[in-house]
């Protein structure tokens, strides 16, 4: 029964990884940008909510309301001012740009909020502690369920957006061939900015999930990035949109089962699964896929 519990808890944890991975996968799928600042951006979102809650005694969910549009706007401006320019200089420059951005965000957060560990769990009320007790061995926390449910909603909404809307079709076209997209009237840069805005918005939701279920501090970003990155790779690096959520769940389950065997193995077992996928024949195709796969990165969202 403990094993069942581990798997269930792992799936719930995977919901969080899925949210964090989603924006990373979207930016990679649309623009081939690996956003090394993705985790830091999620943490930035968490700190903005923390800042609001210091002045305003409301639920973190209310604090999300002004922070989410702010972060979406931040994503849009980030793409237009920094990432778009760096894209012109080849594939490596955006990587360096986001690496730099990651350092800037970490240091700015350290400067602004100090090194203390924070959590928004205490302000969120009963949802953090509530749980459905299935039996003596198995309980599902309300927060975990909420996060996993949110993840599913995010992925479903993104899928609908990409496959059913005008704007989503433009995004898939620009992702596949930005040059030709321009020739049929699509402003690829505007589409890219939209993609980054969406990715940062989802990262902010991930930041809230992190702040509620755990703790965060100014240097928490890189850890989140690693989990997000592992989820994306386990899920098949852009072979389909839902792969990132699936990868997140696999990672989550690996960590909880690892922790059951030995508490020290929790994170390690996640890394091992990631490495096993990387060296497996399927993982070995990654390089091949990222060339062609770059072209089919959003194919799972299509018809």
């Amino acid at each position: 029964m403990t094993w069942v519990n581990d798997v269930v808890q792992g799936i719930l944890l995977g919901g969080y990884y899925g949210i964090i991975a989603c924006g990373l996968a979207l930016m990679f799928g649309v623009m081939r940008i690996i956003n090394l600042a993705h985790g830091d951006i999620a943490v930035l979102g968490a700190f903005l909510m923390y800042l609001l809650l210091q002045h305003w005694s409301v639920s973190p969910f209310i604090a999300l309301l002004p922070v989410l549009p702010t972060m979406i706007l931040f994503g849009y401006v980030l793409q237009r001012l920094i990432l778009q320019r760096s894209l012109r200089a080849g594939i490596l420059t955006p990587l360096l740009a986001t690496f730099g951005l990651s350092i800037v965000i970490q240091n700015a957060l350290e400067q602004g909020f100090g090194p203390d560990v924070q959590s928004l769990g205490a302000q969120a009320g009963s949802i953090v502690t509530a749980a459905w007790q299935i039996n003596s061995q198995l309980s599902i926390s309300a927060l975990g369920g909420l996060i996993l449910g949110t993840a599913v909603v995010i992925y479903a909404a993104l899928q609908l957006y990409l496959s059913r809307t005008t704007s989503g079709r433009q995004m898939r076209a620009a992702a596949e061939d930005p040059d030709t997209a321009e020739l049929v009237g699509i402003n690829s840069r505007a589409v890219y900015a939209r993609a980054t805005a969406i990715a940062i918005g989802i990262a902010t939701l991930g930041g809230l999930a992190l702040a509620l279920r755990s703790t965060f501090q100014s240097y928490s970003g890189p850890d989140q990035l690693i989990f997000a990155f592992e989820a994306v790779v386990i899920g098949g690096l852009g072979s389909s949109l839902w792969g990132a959520l699936l990868g997140g769940i696999v990672l989550g389950v690996a960590q909880t089962i690892g922790a059951q065997i030995n508490p020290e193995w929790s994170i390690l077992s996640g890394h091992i699964v990631f490495l096993l996928v990387l060296i497996s024949p399927r993982g070995g195709l990654l390089t091949l896929r990222s060339r062609r796969g770059a072209r089919s990165a959003l194919s799972g969202a299509g018809a």
Partner: protein, 240 residues
């Protein structure tokens, strides 16, 4: 006034001057065939007109308006559409989505999905298929259809028949005649000189980035074209 005017257009790939000081007047409703060997600069010229390649010098005017600095996606709305070499369909989108995505920023006009499918009946059965699964001829039909969805006044076609079966070329040219009959101005590049010249009012031959021979499709002889094509008789070409 002519629909398209090029004035001393220079297009470069780094140090390579692909198009050198080309000037051209293209009237509304005119059909111009551009011929020339590989590397003559035809594709670069078409991409320059469409806005995908920024000129190093010279001007591009559409009905007298200077559009030299206008980005490609805005030129689409002004009525310029390019069917690129190799078709370049969005492989993971369905045929219908390929058409829809082009209609989003289109000029107003009569081209709809139904109209495109009427012009290319073979697309009817393929509407829901991914573009990656299409044959060469089907792909070319879809690519031309995609360009038509933007309701172009000036349709640029690059290597129309390249890689297509003869029967597919027939179908594509038949549809092009209908497009031309509807009053669309066409600038086409095709290795198949006979077909291209048969369709065109005027033929221009390019060599090493320059126009070296120009004449009515019906008047130019095969020898004249061959000479200009390979640069055999440059002195004569100037006279021609």
């Amino acid at each position: 006034m002519s629909l398209l005017t090029l004035e001393g257009l220079d297009l470069r790939h780094g140090l390579l001057e692909a198009v050198r000081g080309v000037s051209l007047e293209l009237g509304e409703g005119e059909v111009l065939a551009l011929v020339g060997a590989n590397g003559a600069g035809k594709t670069t010229l078409l991409r320059g007109i469409a806005g995908a390649h920024r000129p190093a010098a010279g001007r591009i005017l559409l009905e007298g308006t200077d559009i030299t600095r206008v980005p490609a996606y805005q030129r689409v709305r002004m009525g310029i559409a390019l069917v690129p070499e190799g078709r370049r369909l969005f492989a993971n989108l369905t045929v219908e989505e390929n058409l829809l995505v082009a209609a989003q920023r289109a000029r107003r006009g009569g081209w709809t999905i139904d109209a495109v499918i009427e012009a290319f009946p073979m697309l009817e059965a393929l509407r829901r298929q991914r573009a990656a699964t299409l044959s060469g001829g089907e792909g070319q039909a879809a690519a031309i259809g995609r360009a038509l969805m933007t309701n172009p006044r000036l349709l640029l076609l690059d290597e129309v028949s390249l890689g297509l079966a003869p029967v597919a070329v027939d179908a594509v040219y038949a549809a092009l005649r209908a497009v031309i009959a509807a009053g669309t101005t066409v600038l086409l590049v095709d290795q198949d000189f006979t077909r291209a010249a048969g369709l065109a009012d005027r033929v221009v031959c390019m060599l090493e980035g320059r126009f070296v021979l120009e004449g009515k499709g019906s008047e130019l002889t095969r020898e004249q074209i061959t000479d200009a094509y390979f640069g055999l008789g440059r002195a004569m070409a100037v006279a021609g």
